[in-house]
Symmetry: C2
Subunit: 513 residues, 2 copies
Amino acid sequence: MNGARSLVETLLAAGVDTCFANPGTSEMHFVAALDQAVGMRCVLGLQENVVTGMADGYWRMAGKPACTLLHCGPGLANGLANLHNARRAHSGIVNIVGDHATWHRPYDPPLATDTEALARTVSAWVRTCTDAREVGCDAAAAVQAALACQGQIATLILPSDASWDDGGRVGQALALPAAPPIDAAAVDQAARVLRSGANTLLLLAGGAVLESAQHLAWRIAFATGCGLMADYVNGRVARGRGRLALERVPYNTELAQAALAKYDHIILVNAKAPVSFFAYPGKPSLQSAAHAQIHVLSSPEQDPLAALQVLVEALGAPPAALPEAGLRPVAAEGEPSPEKLAQTLAALMPQDAIVSDESVSYGRGFYRFTHNAAPHDWLHLAGGAIGDGMPVAAGAAMGSGSLRRVLSLQADGSAMYSLQALWTQARERLPVTTVLLNNRKYAILQNEYRAVGAEPGPTAMRMLDLGDPDLRWVDLARGMGVEAARATTMEQCADLMQQSFGLARPFLIELMV
Amino acid sequence: MNGARSLVETLLAAGVDTCFANPGTSEMHFVAALDQAVGMRCVLGLQENVVTGMADGYWRMAGKPACTLLHCGPGLANGLANLHNARRAHSGIVNIVGDHATWHRPYDPPLATDTEALARTVSAWVRTCTDAREVGCDAAAAVQAALACQGQIATLILPSDASWDDGGRVGQALALPAAPPIDAAAVDQAARVLRSGANTLLLLAGGAVLESAQHLAWRIAFATGCGLMADYVNGRVARGRGRLALERVPYNTELAQAALAKYDHIILVNAKAPVSFFAYPGKPSLQSAAHAQIHVLSSPEQDPLAALQVLVEALGAPPAALPEAGLRPVAAEGEPSPEKLAQTLAALMPQDAIVSDESVSYGRGFYRFTHNAAPHDWLHLAGGAIGDGMPVAAGAAMGSGSLRRVLSLQADGSAMYSLQALWTQARERLPVTTVLLNNRKYAILQNEYRAVGAEPGPTAMRMLDLGDPDLRWVDLARGMGVEAARATTMEQCADLMQQSFGLARPFLIELMV
């Protein structure tokens, strides 16, 4: 068996059965091995950022890693932005990068790059295989690394001779290392603060915003009166009826400061201290009150359920039913607005929908109106690198077995970064409804420009508007095999949404906003 | 004046008057400075690989650097593949990357990345400004670095506080450092070999395939009987009537070995020793005969004109007229084929056309049929990272003042990597005719798979074909504001080409092959 075959068999033995790929010449033996092995689902993306974004979305819903297959340093480079987002979402990915044969590389052929240097910028674990006999072991270690610390990126670089040489051996699946234990002193400290009566916020992130953790967090809040809030971005948040109506720390620095001003203590549960997305002249980086004390109950690589459970016990917090949900909004009518779209989403979203949210500035207020929707999962752009919405939607659909409808809320400027994802949605017949928010501008940047102190002049506007020529999303979607229609009113949008929910394939609604 | 303003004024003073951009929040002060300064043409790309590819194409035709404007590490990551290609083409680019404020970065906000590590993988020069007062000096040094060594990538990382703080000073343009001198011993050695009567090849690359250098190379060949050949890829080759009918070293390893077998000596003029693009089991990396001796007349960072001039003098090679051109082919008819397309190109190509060639496997034989076309420049995918054809076409059009027709020969699989370039072509009314070769597959990979020893099975084919669903390029082009039509015969293709040559805007021909 050659190295490539041992790699595929090791991945399958370790439970990795989905491969998002954009292969090249140096990966042909790996591709051939996929033909020989049984059980690996291979999904093609037409650009690598689509490939890596799909792997991210897959993890968020499946809770297990997929592997990627990328072509040399430049192929990895193309997929780095969504690996960056995946890293921020704490998604586990076995990121496989083919490369030149070990003995060819010193000749510096055209595609040669410092692949390891690129990989290190996004990966918790990087290894280059240099011997076909070790590929299986290396692959088993990569899967272990991807599953560790609540999920991380493990990059395995595979020179083509390690792939085609004989001597491959299937690597044995390795045990998942235990998460770093919760520090008893941290629990005592958190319990003391919560009992003190001081204004305290439990700031939740990562696995702490999933359903089981929410029930524990609510017991703590119910027993102590502390506040509960979620990070501004999270890989996956359980939301809707039967879940907590968690608000996010706002994006806008002033709003975030106002929301956090009253808290003397902030206890972090897999969250980081609240920091603004960008710096502004004369404004602080930290969004919490200057006097507030920050306490770490659990860091992002620890198990948040374990942390909350121990804290519940330390406080003796009794079981408590979550607050009753309010009324579900009704679908809105007339001219589109962010509020109306959120209401319509809340009214129509099917049970167990998945929302892939790259609505950027248009969607900052969507949360408030959707707490009472049917139960659903909401996936954020976790690393701020635009272009993950449509790939994550595709990966999330596959990660949930195509059994749940995905709503892909997508700003137009960001959509252009990875529009190739629509093709994979069509090819794999994925149940994704994209609501493409066509405002013909980089709205967030026009706002940021005004924050600098002036209206954009003609030169600046050439870089901030998308209106010359207008992007025609119905044509773009059809060009990639995705059925699409334009909506200019909320009624049309609602009708198209409902029609699309019955389809076993993707649909794109170009909503003119 | 703030740092951003000093940056823009320094660039303009140093002759950099074109900025390819995809800005973000941390670049808003730079964008505002562009509004205040006079003379910078700003061109928006809807994804960063389009931005960097345009900067590459611009250099190849303008012979001076443009600057880019990218947003933080992930924005740079998105543009790395075409920076890699630009590096291999020896294109000079002032690559400007905005980043977090120096005092914000330690908080590790979501977009934070190791921007310098990413930059180093493609740049000859990297500097992070940490003080608004030094931005002007740093920018002048970046321009100098971009112009040095026949063109290289200089990356200037600009934290947003260095941009918005006051104290900026315009940097004085710095003198271009002299190219490393041609080594007299290398000239003597080359002259001795050429006089010896042994079979010798002068292998040309970089500036050695431009027109003036071709005349000098021909004098050497005419006087000594040596062979002349060009590297497989070059940033820009002067071709057509009145230029040398230079063949390239073939891509295919066997063909390359056959073409080079007869040479006992290979003299490199800004070329590297001929190395195969990819390694294959049991095949050598070097394509020259095992016994051949390799001599370096000039390395890629040296001045090839100076090198050839000194060699001409050492040999006393008299002036010699280039060989007469043969007949210009006539436009082909019937079913499309690579040969027919090349003939039609040669027949119809207008004077001084620019060919941006990302035809990949379909176009490997285009050279043979186009030697007798009207004079033109041919731009290759120099680094092998697919996705540069359409951005380079756009940049080349702007680098030649939109005065020359650009023919963008574009494979479909590669086109999907950076199709957003079509939008910029439309916005800037660029005279680009794209011939989109729609074969609905990764043809190169299907060939490579067969070279592994088998026909692709169903799993492999899912990763090598683009036919489910078919990409509809007329729709995709129209979705981005580019007029387009489909051709199924060479007559239709020829008609559409000729119509497009009269337009002051882009046009896309979807050629079904």
